[in-house]
Amino acid sequence: MLYDIFIDPFLQMVEQPDFLLQVLWEGFVAGILYALIALGFVLIFKASGVFNFAQGIMVVFAALTLVGLHENGVPAYLALVLTIGVMGVLAYTVERVVMRPLVNQPDIILLMATIGLTYFLVGFGEFVFGGEPKKMIAEELGLPTGSTAFDVGERGLVILQHIDIAAAVIAVLMVAGLGLFFNKTRVGRALRAVADDHQAALSVGISLNQIWAIVWFAAGIVALATGIMWGARSDVSFALEIIAFKALPVLILGGFTSIPGAIIGGLIIGFGEKIGEIYWGPLVGGGIESWLAYIIALLFLLFRPQGLFGERIIERV
């Protein structure tokens, strides 16, 4: 038994390095996609201290809007632009209706408000778009399809889907862009101020409402990108919402407020999950992907209660 757990999986890895590379690649891609989802959470958390529970449903909603518009005859690029507009309207509405009345409430109240928002968007989305899974319009948007096979020495092949490569590139670009935005621009600085202390930010003249609307809009864009990428790999349906739960372990590892942390956390979870599932999963009947991420995060937390990149919480009396 000990042999099965501690020796055999590694032997398997060495015996078939092409398979190992494939698994690593899959893990990498999954990690990037998790990171994209986590990014949306980080944005809103960074700027308002709120854990936006509705991020998952926003991903679905954005994707559904895009596909829905296209189904009704709107050309792909126009649909993209219109969807961005829709996310903008959503951001403005959320800020006006949910965030503004709750501006001074403790974080837990805001969290619950986003839970309420989720419920609402789920119902609304199903009402407008119907509940069946839809196909993402990846080709029409100009995203690459097909795949390339790489030879790995004499041992075998590793197959890389082009869409995955595109996803990785887009994710990295987004992270870089957002990182620059937060650190170098005036708006970014205002966002960080707001994240720290709402009232203090107000007292120096930062317009909370504007900042929040901007942030929710940015999160909406990230949600749209995430929706497109996820949807291109598997269809767009409300099941995608569950994927958002995976964001929590990613955020814990990467820190709730760190943009590069989202990528690192995503990668760790992506790799960990895939390798765990393929090499150790069969020992217990498989399907451990559903909970492995949480256990990984839990183990990390036990050693570092503030996450890998989180700030050390110094409690004062």
Partner: protein
């Protein structure tokens, strides 16, 4: 003027610390008991108890369980669905292994298994706080769900992977299974819920309940007063999981009759969380109100909408219900973050001076 404590003097600390010190509250409680134990059984047909009241009782109990952990002890939990599953499967195994055992004993014992698992997953709470703790309960939720599928022993190697409740008798009356009378099941559920609610309320008003609230409000100060955080937190996990376990067992035995692992999915955890939040965290009455609200509202909508002349399919009702509930959650949070229980207390305050505007 109805709701005044004027004229009701307490001459001992015992009477001051009673559960319902005011006469008006006691009358209200009597009315509720009368309705529950007498009016409903007499007035309702078969449909009402099984489809409305029993699930309401089940959810209320689960909401109380969640309230103990999140409302009183301040530890966020997203795993109540899975803990309910542990209770359900434990009860199923117990009654399979001991078919002649008293069902009430089986149900109450099944909670102990949830409590044990709850304590296990609560251990990290000493190191981890707040939102991070949610990951522990999420881990519990998904891991236990996986166990329900992957451990065939749990469902007696049944081909369908689901558990089905057999007919069981107690004192000669058939209690579970297809042949059981809905009213019988209703009374049993009601009895169990009333008993457990009373026990929990005792714990809450005593030392342990106070320690939970101390941990919730400021755990550092609590530690400096001499409260052991780990003991307090673990006791909260234990009690909370126990209640959820019994609720889960009742859910399968008295209401659904059968269950698949998906019956204990994460959506269930959230449903109970909404009930606790809407009802008011940290309030027993709130748990009942929240459960009533979230459970009964869809039923009302389903019956009201067609009568308004709108022909709506069942699915649309679901969508609209989601939207309305979501909207109501946001509305309540803006208007009264402390939930229905606080609104109720405010109403009682108003009753103190009504019909005069000021006291």
């Amino acid at each position: 003027m109805l709701y005044r404590e004027a004229g009701q003097f307490k001459t001992s600390y015992e009477s001051d610390q009673a559960l319902f010190p005011l006469r008006q509250d006691r009358i209200g409680l009597a009315v509720i008991f009368l309705t529950a134990f007498v009016v409903i059984p007499l007035a309702a047909n078969d449909f009402f108890p099984t489809s409305i009241m029993i699930p309401f009782l089940v959810f209320a109990l689960a909401a109380i369980g969640l309230n103990v952990l999140t409302g009183y002890a301040g530890q966020l939990s997203l795993g109540t669905g899975a803990f309910r599953g542990v209770g359900a499967y434990s009860a199923y195994k117990l009654t399979s292994i001991f078919p002649d055992a008293n069902l009430i004993v089986v149900l109450l014992a099944s909670g102990l298994f949830s409590a044990a698992i709850g304590v296990l997953f609560g251990l990290p709470s000493l190191r981890i706080k707040g939102l991070y703790l949610a990951v522990t309960t999420l881990a519990a939720q998904f891991f236990l769900e996986w166990c329900f599928i992957r451990i065939p022993w749990l469902y007696n190697y049944n081909a369908s992977g689901a558990i089905e409740v057999q007919q069981r008798e107690m004192f000669g009356i058939i209690v579970t299974g297809a042949a059981a009378a809905p009213l019988t099941q209703y009374f049993f559920a009601l009895g169990i819920v009333v008993l457990l609610t009373w026990l929990v309320s005792n714990v809450i008003r005593g030392r342990i309940g106070r320690e939970w609230m101390m941990i919730r409000d400021m755990d550092i100060a609590a530690e400096l007063i001499g409260v052991r955080p780990l003991t307090a937190k673990l006791s909260a996990f234990a009690v909370s999981s126990y209640l959820c376990g019994v609720a889960g067992a009742m859910m399968v035995f008295f209401w659904l009759g059968a269950a698949e692992p998906s019956a204990f999915a994460i959506s269930l955890s959230f449903q109970v969380l909404f009930m606790a939040i809407l009802g008011g965290l940290g309030s027993l009455i709130g748990s009942f109100m929240g459960a009533a609200f979230i459970w009964i509202l869809p039923v009302l909508l389903r019956s009201v909408l067609p009568s308004l002349g709108l022909e709506v399919g069942a699915e649309t009702v679901e969508h609209l219900t989601s939207m309305i509930i979501g909207g109501l959650i946001i509305f309540f949070l803006i208007a009264e973050p402390h939930g229905l229980a606080r609104l109720w207390r405010l109403a009682k305050e108003k009753l103190r001076v009504w019909p005069f505007p000021y006291g």
